[in-house]
Every structure is written in structure tokens, then in C-alpha cells.
């Protein structure tokens, strides 16, 4: 059989005379693997365990997330704590699938030039982040992170926010009508609150219209949804890997 197929005048030889058939067979060959992997994950409902406390991003956080994407912070920072003891020790509770249901796109990253940020929310005061973004070496000597002083100067552009929320709602993120319509006002209020706190901590004034407040809002939210869950001891620990078994 094998002989007949690949001999120099065998079946494969004839196939080489029919590029169309050859192309069709190639297409089938490359589709099989992908389909087998996707279909369960996309069709089977509940393939991702929902976690009750995980909520969509607020408008300002969403804006900060989009700045994070635009700056390419994900090229140096992962957001995916693996279920190893050393990672849990270093970063906190390992990441769960259910935490990422509103992540469009996912930002797990593939490189840790800097530390994982999945649990960075609440780790530092707002002002620390402002100083750190302005010049990382002011808070972390020897840091190799790029400075982002322009974030303290560039105005925050909120004009796309209502469309963003609307599109995300189309895709299934449960934003209310109120949030979609008043997205800009909500974001302004959030920005105001952060800017006041920065001032209270002795930081620069008037940041409420700047990009930095959006980034701070986003960073401070990261990983905090689940922290409440794990202390409440709810059934969020649905991860595949046994924590203790990891080396």
C-alpha cells in the first residue's frame, strides 16, 4: 500500500498532476487540527467556569486598558500567574479562565521582561504609579522599563468611549444602557476621584484630564475581582493544575 502510494509512478505521482485536488487535500489537512481544538471551546457552553465577582471594566479602566495596548506594555509584562508555588508567592493567586471572560483582546503576554501584572491592583498607592510611569528609575532604581512622562501631559481622549461600550455590548459584555449612554461622564468622575487621591498623597495637581489617570485606574483594578472571591472562599478554584504538585 505504502509502495503504491509513494512510488515514483504511484498514486501520489498522479496527485502531483492535479494541483486542484492537491490543494483541496492540503486544505483539509490543515483544517482538521484547528477544528478539533476550537470546537469544544467555542461550542460547549460552560467550557469556561464563570466567576460571579468578575465584572466588566469601568469606562475609565477600559480606556486605560486601551492605552496599555497602544503602548505595548504587554510586550514586557505578562498577566497570567501560573499555578506554581513560586509564582503564587511572588504575585498572588494564580489566574483563572473565568477572570478573562471580558478580555478583548486577552493580554496574557509571552514575555516577562518586567514582572507579571495580573495581581498588581492595590499593591501600590496611586502616587507610586504616577511617579513610576513618569520615570521608573525614580521608584525602582536599575529598572529597565521605558519612561512615560507624556502620560502626565497628554490629554485623555474619551470621545470613542460610548462606541467602545456599545461594540463590546454587541459582543456580549453586559454593560447597562446607562453605562453606555453616560460612559464619558462616568469616566470623568472616576478620573476626578483618582486625581484627588494623587493630590492627597502629595502628587501633582490637575491630572484628571490626563492619560495617566486611566492607566492608574486600570492597573489598580487588575486582579482585584478575584481577591474578594478567594477570601470569600467561593468556588473559583477551578484551575486545571494542582498547585502543590507543581515543582
Amino acid at each position: 500500500m505504502k509502495r503504491r502510494f509513494i512510488k515514483k509512478d504511484g498514486i501520489h505521482r498522479r496527485l502531483e498532476g492535479w494541483p486542484l485536488v492537491f490543494t483541496v487535500l492540503t486544505t483539509i489537512a490543515i483544517l482538521v487540527g484547528g477544528l478539533v481544538e476550537f470546537l469544544p471551546l467555542i461550542l460547549v457552553k460552560g467550557s469556561v467556569d464563570k466567576i460571579a465577582t468578575v465584572e466588566p471594566w469601568t469606562p475609565l479602566e477600559l480606556e486605560g486598558r486601551d492605552i496599555y495596548i497602544a503602548e505595548g506594555c504587554n510586550t514586557c509584562h505578562s498577566q497570567m500567574v501560573r499555578p506554581f508555588r513560586h509564582e503564587i508567592e511572588r504575585y498572588g493567586e494564580y489566574s483563572k479562565a473565568g477572570e478573562t471572560v471580558y478580555e478583548r483582546p486577552f493580554l496574557w503576554g509571552s514575555k516577562r521582561t518586567g514582572p507579571d501584572l495580573a495581581r498588581v491592583g492595590g499593591k501600590y498607592p496611586h502616587l507610586w504609579h504616577v511617579r513610576h510611569m513618569e520615570n521608573p528609575r525614580s521608584t525602582s532604581p536599575n529598572s529597565i522599563m521605558p519612561p512615560y512622562p507624556h502620560m502626565l501631559e497628554n490629554d485623555l481622549d474619551l470621545s470613542d468611549l460610548p462606541t467602545k461600550l456599545k461594540r463590546l455590548r454587541m459582543l456580549g459584555t453586559p454593560y447597562s444602557d446607562d453605562e453606555v449612554q453616560n460612559a464619558i461622564e462616568i469616566a470623568r468622575e472616576e478620573a476626578e476621584a483618582i486625581a484627588r487621591e494623587v493630590e492627597a498623597q502629595g502628587g501633582p495637581e490637575g491630572l484628571e484630564t490626563k492619560q495617566i489617570v486611566a492607566i492608574v485606574a486600570y492597573l489598580q483594578r487588575l486582579g482585584t475581582d478575584i481577591q474578594t472571591t478567594s477570601t470569600a472562599g467561593s468556588g473559583a478554584s477551578s484551575a486545571p493544575e494542582d498547585v502543590n504538585a507543581s515543582r
Binding site: E16, G17, P19, G72, N74, R82, W108, T113, P146, R167
Partner: protein, 588 residues
């Protein structure tokens, strides 16, 4: 008439004698892609060197738009889609025409493909520093550019398959199988991973979220490696390696087995990029198993490439092209051994997120993609421009600079990656993290970042040598470079039956060259021939039996007189058909 430009001549003409037609290959399109490859290679790797500097020396992050986070995607897009992309298009356009014994289906589509692709690259180079990105690795470009990519890719596909349709060679050679797999799969991957809902011209949200988005992205990302950086380069290898070595490919059988198993298995391996993440565990395990299985078909390709040189290893000494190919294929073998190893969960637990991945990437990228491309360019330069290579010494220097550069790059990243991995997981006797401050693990590897930078600069220096060599070679080219014309018996192979008369391959192996059915004619003669309505096309050399020597290429004759030596070894005649696929294990 006699000075008619064949570049503007239609691909095929009837000569009046019903069973002979004159056609030519479009060489200008290959020249354009070669130019673009060299230029973008230089730019993309300069950006690589800049980000390599920014890591140990953050002061090199200049202003708002040229920070590491914005330039890294620019580097990856420029080297993958501009440098490697233009290289595989050059290879495809050069070899497909010859393997099909037909001009490209449409010169117009070839031009649209070329300029469209360059436009896409320029758009990428502008939008990425401006922060317009989807953040998905190797698919960072926003939706309007994604649509442009899809359109240009479809034009390429139509042009390619159109050429297959009008081919004069019944059987498609193994290089073409790999091109077919590339074109089909890249289209599927690109569309599948780019599905998104636009918010504005420069921003969109993907239709997948979280775990699904991750799975789709790495189905794409891994297979971008597979079908953009591997299969087209295997096609390149299968055409240019036998050409340069003047030996038939090692094993026809092996090429069949490794082709089908490679393309089938590759698709499954994507989840190895997501080991120990929130992806369901079965998917990661599946990815790991298929990655290990992938080792064999990958090495099948390596063996077929390297053993093409069996009994002719001495040719390595004199030929830069072969040196480059052999090192390139060897690095392919190394990175496809390392890859399966990295996908094993316990190894990935250490290597993931570290510089080890970066070392793996660049052993493939600099060794395999880079060196195969350079080898091809050094082979093409004298042929496309009908002259001799300006400096063989400089080319040899490029080889050594490149090789030392790769080694410094890769070894420094292994050291740094393993150091990071071990420091992150180290506990002291009291069971506390040995290095609780992340920054300690950063400063530890900064010296390695400097070594990497030096390696990268050496490699880049090699590219500059290539630029100089190409520039000087092209300067010495004849002013006019008309496409050489060929005569072939009429009867397209797809018209049914067994193809044209005389198509039955003498050895039962149609991919080997048949010297008796394709005759090169001078372009002016071709023009005359088509004009002459008389019975005997003037100047068309008739085959006088098997084993006829081909006439020298017309351009060569004009430029340097008869008997010009081909650059790749003294006095060798280069057949222009497909490389022979006669294999040693075929005796039974």
C-alpha cells in the same frame, strides 16, 4: 523588431508553427522582491538592534513614539512580513515560473502584489509607532490593513494558481506543494484570527474573548511560524538547494511523507504557547504531544536538504551559497529539536516568559530564515542581473559575521533565559523566595543583553555587506535585461489526457529536467519568430536529440561575450528547469 523588449511581450506566443510556442519568464518581478528583501531586512534588523539596545539601556527609549513597547512589534512585523515575506515572494516568483515552465499568470497581478505588499509594510511602519495595534503577536495591524493584506494575498493566490493552471510541466514539484500549503493556510489563519468589530478606523475589539481569544491567537501565532517562516522556506530550500548543489534532491519519498505529516501536525501544536495558563489542560497536553510528533517531519525536511549534498560536500568550500544553505538548514534542525523540547510541560515551566524563548526564536529566524534568504540572494544576484558577483570575499565575510552574530545572540539568550527561570523559582532554606525583588532578576541578565546586542550588530553588519555587494553587482549589470525567451511545444497540460506529446517522462520522473522539450531562444529571435508567419521560425533552435546543450542565455552573450563563466563554480552549465527529484532510494 529585433530590438523588441520582451518584458512587454506577452507571456506566450504562437510562432506560426502550430506545435511551438515562445514564452519568457518575468524576471523583473523577482528583482523587485530581491531589492525589497534587502532593504527591509536592513530596516527591520536595525529596529531589532535598537530594541536590543533599549533593554540594557532604557535611555534609548526616545520620546513618545519610539519606546520599546511600540518598536518591538515593528521589529517583528518588519523582519517577518517585510524581510522574510519579500524573500519568499522572490523565491516563489522565480521558481514557480520555472517549475511550471510558464510565465506568471498575470504580470499586472504580480505588480499589484509587489506594490500592495510594500504599501502594507509602510502602513505598518507608520501605525505601529503611533500605537495603533491589536496587541496580538504577529497580528498587530489594525483592521483596515488586515483587509488590505487579505486582498493582496488573494491576488497573489490567483496569480499563483493561474500559473499552475497554464503550466507546461505535468507534475508539480515538491517546492510547489509547500507554496500551495503556505498560500492556503496563511489565508485561513489571517482571516480566522483577525475577526474583529471596528470601533474606529484605528481601533477594534476581537470577536473572541479571554481563553478563546488566546487559543485562536496561538493557533494563528504558531502557524504563522509554521506557514510563513517554515513551509515557504522549505519550498525555497527544495528549489534552490538542488540548484546550487547541482544534485537531485535526496529522497522523493521522504519529501512526500514529511510534507503531509508536517502540514497536518503543525496545526495542532499551537497550545504549546499556553502551557500552565488558564487554557484547559487537555488543550496544552494535545499541543505538547503534537509538538513532539512534529520533530520527525521537521527533521525529514532537514535531512532531505542536507543530504542533497551527499558526495558533494567539497563544494561547500568554494560556494558561499552552499555554506549559507547548509548552516541555515542546520539551524532549522536545531530549532525544530529545541521547539518540541520547549513544549514539554516541565521544560516550558522553566522557559516560558524568559529569554530562552527569544533564543529559540532567533536561532530559527537568524539561522534558518536569514541564512536561507541570504543564500538565495547570492545565488540569484549574478543570474538575475546577468553578471558576476562583485566580491566573493565580501560574501564570505558576510557568512562569518552572520554566523558569529547568531551564536552570540543565541548563546547569550540561553544563559539569560535559564538564569531568569532559575532565579524566579528559587527558594531559600526557610521556604521563602530567594529573589523576592523582581528587579534582581533583571539586573542579573543585563550583561547578557549587551552580548546579544553585539551579536545582533555583527549580524546586521553582514546585512550591510550584502547591501554593498548587491549594489556593486547590480552596477556591473548590462543596461538592458530582457527576459530570456524559451520555445516549447504547444499543448497545455491541463487540457486533459496525459499532457502534451512527449510528456511521458523518460525516467518516469517528470520533475527531472527534460532538455529536449524546452529550448531557449534569444529574445530578438523570439520576437521575430512570432512575427514570422512562415513555417520555420527563424532562429528557433531545434532540439537535436536528447542531451542537447542549452544555448547560453541571450543577455550573457551580449554583455560579456560567449562562454561567460557562471559564478557558481568554474564552467558549470546551469539547466533552467526544475531541479531533479531523482532519488537514491528509488531503485526498487
Amino acid at each position: 523588431m529585433a530590438h523588441a523588449q520582451t518584458t512587454s511581450a506577452p507571456g506566450t506566443r504562437s510562432t506560426g508553427r502550430s506545435n511551438i510556442e515562445i514564452f519568457s519568464y518575468d524576471e523583473q518581478i523577482t528583482r523587485l522582491f530581491v531589492y525589497a528583501t534587502i532593504l527591509w531586512g536592513f530596516i527591520g534588523m536595525s529596529v531589532g538592534a535598537l530594541i536590543a539596545l533599549q533593554l540594557p539601556f532604557p535611555e534609548a527609549n526616545i520620546g513618545e513614539y519610539l519606546t520599546f513597547g511600540r518598536l518591538r512589534p515593528l521589529h517583528t512585523n518588519a523582519v517577518i512580513f517585510a524581510f522574510a515575506g519579500n524573500a519568499i515572494f522572490a523565491a516563489t516568483y522565480y521558481s514557480t515560473q520555472r517549475l511550471c515552465k510558464a510565465r506568471m499568470f498575470s504580470d499586472w497581478m504580480s505588480q499589484v502584489h509587489f506594490w500592495g505588499w510594500q504599501g502594507i509594510i509602510v502602513a505598518a511602519a507608520l501605525t505601529l509607532p503611533l500605537g495603533m495595534t491589536t496587541s496580538k503577536e504577529y497580528a498587530e495591524l489594525e483592521w483596515p490593513i488586515d483587509i488590505a493584506i487579505a486582498v493582496i494575498w488573494i491576488i497573489f493566490a490567483v496569480n499563483f494558481f493561474g500559473t499552475l493552471y497554464k503550466r507546461r510541466e505535468k507534475h508539480i514539484y515538491v517546492a510547489l506543494w509547500f507554496y500551495i500549503a503556505t498560500i492556503v493556510t496563511v489565508a485561513v489563519l489571517h482571516v480566522g484570527n483577525s475577526l474583529a468589530i471596528p470601533v474606529s478606523l484605528t481601533k477594534s475589539y476581537p470577536i473572541y474573548a479571554g481563553v478563546q481569544d488566546a487559543l485562536v491567537q496561538w493557533w494563528y501565532g504558531h502557524n504563522a511560524v509554521a506557514f510563513f517562516l517554515t513551509t515557504p522556506f522549505l519550498g525555497l530550500m527544495y528549489y534552490f538547494m538542488p540548484k546550487a548543489a547541482q544534485r537531485p534532491v535526496f529522497s522523493y519519498r521522504l519529501s512526500i511523507v514529511h510534507f503531509w505529516s508536517l502540514i497536518f501536525i503543525y496545526i495542532w501544536a499551537g497550545p504549546h504557547h499556553l502551557q500552565y495558563t488558564a487554557l484547559p489542560e487537555w488543550a496544552g497536553t494535545l499541543g505538547m504531544l503534537f509538538s513532539i510528533m512534529l520533530w520527525m517531519p521537521s527533521w525529514g525536511g532537514m535531512i532531505n536538504g542536507l543530504f542533497t549534498l551527499r558526495g558533494a560536500w567539497h563544494k561547500l568550500r568554494d560556494s558561499v551559497v552552499l555554506k549559507m544553505f547548509v548552516v541555515g538548514i542546520t539551524f532549522y534542525g536545531m530549532s525544530t529539536f529545541e521547539g518540541p523540547m520547549l513544549s514539554v510541560k516541565s521544560v516550558n515551566a522553566l522557559s516560558h516568559y524568559t529569554d530562552w524563548t527569544i533564543g529559540h526564536v532567533h536561532s530559527g529566524a537568524l539561522g534558518w530564515n536569514g541564512f536561507m534568504t541570504f543564500g538565495m540572494i547570492y545565488w540569484l544576484l549574478p543570474r538575475l542581473w546577468r553578471t558576476t558577483l562583485w566580491s566573493k570575499k565580501l560574501a564570505t565575510a558576510h557568512f562569518w559575521f552572520g554566523l558569529i552574530g547568531i551564536l552570540m545572540y543565541v548563546i547569550s539568550m540561553y544563559v539569560s533565559g535559564i538564569t531568569q527561570g532559575l532565579m524566579w523559582r528559587a527558594f531559600d532554606e526557610a521556604g521563602r523566595l530567594m529573589y523576592p525583588e523582581f528587579i534582581e532578576t533583571v539586573t542579573q541578565v543585563v550583561p547578557m543583553y549587551w552580548v546579544r546586542l553585539i551579536g545582533g550588530l555583527l549580524y546586521l553588519g553582514g546585512v550591510v555587506m550584502l547591501m554593498v555587494n548587491a549594489w556593486m553587482t547590480i552596477r556591473s549589470a548590462p543596461k538592458e535585461l530582457p527576459d530570456p525567451a524559451y520555445a516549447a511545444p504547444v499543448a497545455p497540460v491541463h487540457s486533459g489526457g496525459d499532457g502534451r506529446p512527449g510528456a511521458a517522462p523518460a525516467s518516469g520522473d517528470g520533475t527531472e529536467e527534460r532538455k529536449d522539450d524546452l529550448v531557449e531562444v534569444a529574445p530578438s529571435e523570439a520576437a521575430d519568430a512570432s512575427a514570422a508567419s512562415g513555417s520555420d521560425a527563424p532562429g528557433t533552435k531545434k532540439p537535436d536529440g536528447p542531451g542537447t546543450k542549452k544555448p547560453e542565455g541571450p543577455g550573457t552573450k551580449n554583455a560579456q561575450g560567449p562562454g561567460t563563466k557562471k559564478p557558481d563554480g568554474p564552467g558549470t552549465k546551469k539547466p533552467d528547469g526544475p531541479p531533479s527529484l531523482r532519488e537514491t532510494d528509488d531503485e526498487d
